[in-house]
């Protein structure tokens, strides 16, 4: 119990762990979808505190990690052009493209700027009308409403030197794809709390029903995660497969209706490639035809660009829960957070980075868990 003293409420954590231990009678594996949850699990050693029958599989829930190389290369190409101000969230700077990253583009003279919000990029466009300002819109359903609002505002205010390079992804089709995979070992999901703050929970009952899989909406603080696991284990032991909301303080079933209406106005669903995984039908958002003028891929004519991912990096298998980070030969040697080969090592929400930061050397329990696989 070496980590438990770091919990906000160690006594409550212990009660939750005891409850889980008292409930579980056989091995179960569950996937936490959100990269923030992965980070929290590894940081607090939650997987090591749990009964050995429970295996946590790390899901694909890190938008930086799943943005395909092709899109990164498009970003690098656009950011390198003269007259372009390329705006991005800070965690995209060091994501490797085929031969460089945005940090390098800036070093080579590109006008790359880090913004906190897509509205900051829109403001830059208003202030510099002689420059083309492009915002790199990456993220899950939590981020998409912000990007949608930037497009909506640009159109409303008739800002014509602003466009968006969009690579948004949706969680439910990813769950569907994971469950349909012949290698799937996932028996329950801890759904991403803040995605559901926006989207609500109404997309999930059909998934739970079709695949007979419990889905528990979970926050990302250590106690939230333990509570999510506790509820998932209860359902599994009882043979149930319902959607439960273990994060009601931030998630309402109907989600954020205002955000959903702007999302529907600006975006439409589309097939989307996930880095290391491949194309998942209907798993992304693109701008609707009404917003085509704001689509940077068309404005800068980079739609044809395609690329191959490096073969040594096994991040795709990590993202699908097929292997653990340290089972990749490059982990911690050729691939570190300072010299990442794959995006799962770049972002702090990536499973590889979380393992590297908190468990550089494999612990005995990790070996045990691996051998159970």
């Amino acid at each position: 119990m070496k980590y438990i003293d770091e919990f906000q409420d160690p006594a409550l954590a212990r009660r939750l762990l005891d409850d889980i231990a008292g409930t579980v009678t056989r091995p179960w594996s569950m996937m936490e979808v959100c990269g923030g949850q992965t980070h929290s699990i590894i940081r607090h050693g939650i997987d090591q505190l749990l009964p050995e029958q429970i295996e946590l599989i790390h899901g694909p829930g890190c938008p930086v990690c799943v943005t395909p190389l092709e899109v990164i290369d498009k970003a690098l190409e656009i950011a390198s052009r003269p007259g372009v101000v390329f705006c991005s969230f800070g965690d995209m700077l060091r994501v490797p493209g085929s031969d460089r990253d945005l940090f390098r583009v800036r070093g080579d003279g590109g006008d790359v700027r880090v913004v906190y919000s897509p509205l900051d990029a829109l403001r830059i466009a208003q202030q510099t009308p002689d420059q083309q300002v492009v915002f790199f819109g990456v993220g899950f359903e939590t981020t998409a409403p912000a990007i949608a609002m930037a497009a909506h505002q640009a159109k409303r205010l008739d800002v014509r030197n602003f466009s968006l390079l969009v690579s948004h992804v949706r969680v439910p089709p990813a769950i569907e794809a994971i469950m349909r995979s012949p290698d799937c070992r996932v028996q329950a999901f801890l759904a991403a709390g803040h995605v559901c703050s926006v989207m609500g929970t109404l997309e999930y009952p059909a998934l739970a029903d079709t695949h007979k899989v419990p889905i528990v909406v979970t926050g990302f603080e250590p106690l939230d995660i333990l509570e999510g696991i506790r509820r998932a284990v209860r359902q599994l032991e009882r043979g149930e497969h319902r959607v439960e909301n273990a994060y009601p303080r931030a998630v309402r079933p109907q989600g954020n209706q205002v955000a959903l209406s702007v999302l529907r106005e600006v975006f439409t669903t589309t097939d989307r490639a996930w880095r290391g995984i491949g194309t998942i039908p209907d798993s992304g958002w693109r701008l609707t035809d009404t917003y085509r003028d704001y689509d940077a891929e068309h404005r800068f004519e980079v739609t044809g660009l395609t690329t191959e991912e490096p073969t040594v990096c096994r991040s795709g298998e990590v993202l699908q829960g097929l292997i653990r980070p340290h089972e990749c030969a490059a982990f911690g040697t050729a691939c570190t957070p300072r010299t990442p080969l794959g995006a799962t090592m770049v972002s702090s929400e990536g499973a590889c980075a979380a393992y590297y930061l908190y468990r550089r050397l494999a612990t005995p329990r990790m070996e045990e868990t691996t051998s159970i696989d």
Binding site: G90, R94, F103, P118, A146, R156, R338
Partner: protein, 99 residues
């Protein structure tokens, strides 16, 4: 970026026809768009993601989360200087390889 951080609304105004707020994240104050949470009032807490308030949160949960984020360095990652961090990581890369 994936992280949504709770903060306290300390001021509200309208800008370009959009409701905006100043939000205090445990000492760091940022502009936040209220378009998706227009009914929130000064003094209340909201979960904020990439400059947008997305859901209300009670004070106790908000403060507990802020304390946790501060302890694990997440606030610095969200609001710190991303360029400095990227430069630092690049400089340290050769040293890392030698470990």
């Amino acid at each position: 970026m994936c992280l949504a951080v709770p903060g306290r609304v300390v001021g509200i105004e309208e800008r370009d026809g959009t409701p905006m707020a100043r939000v205090d994240f445990g000492g760091v104050v940022k502009d936040v768009c209220l378009a998706y949470l227009p009914e929130i009032e000064v003094g209340e807490y909201a979960i904020v993601h990439v400059g947008f308030a997305i859901q209300r949160l009670d004070e106790e949960s908000a403060l507990a989360t802020l304390r946790l984020f501060e302890r694990i360095g997440a606030l610095d990652e969200e609001f710190g200087d991303a360029w400095a961090r990227a430069a630092d990581e690049t400089e340290r890369a050769p040293e890392e390889e030698n470990r």
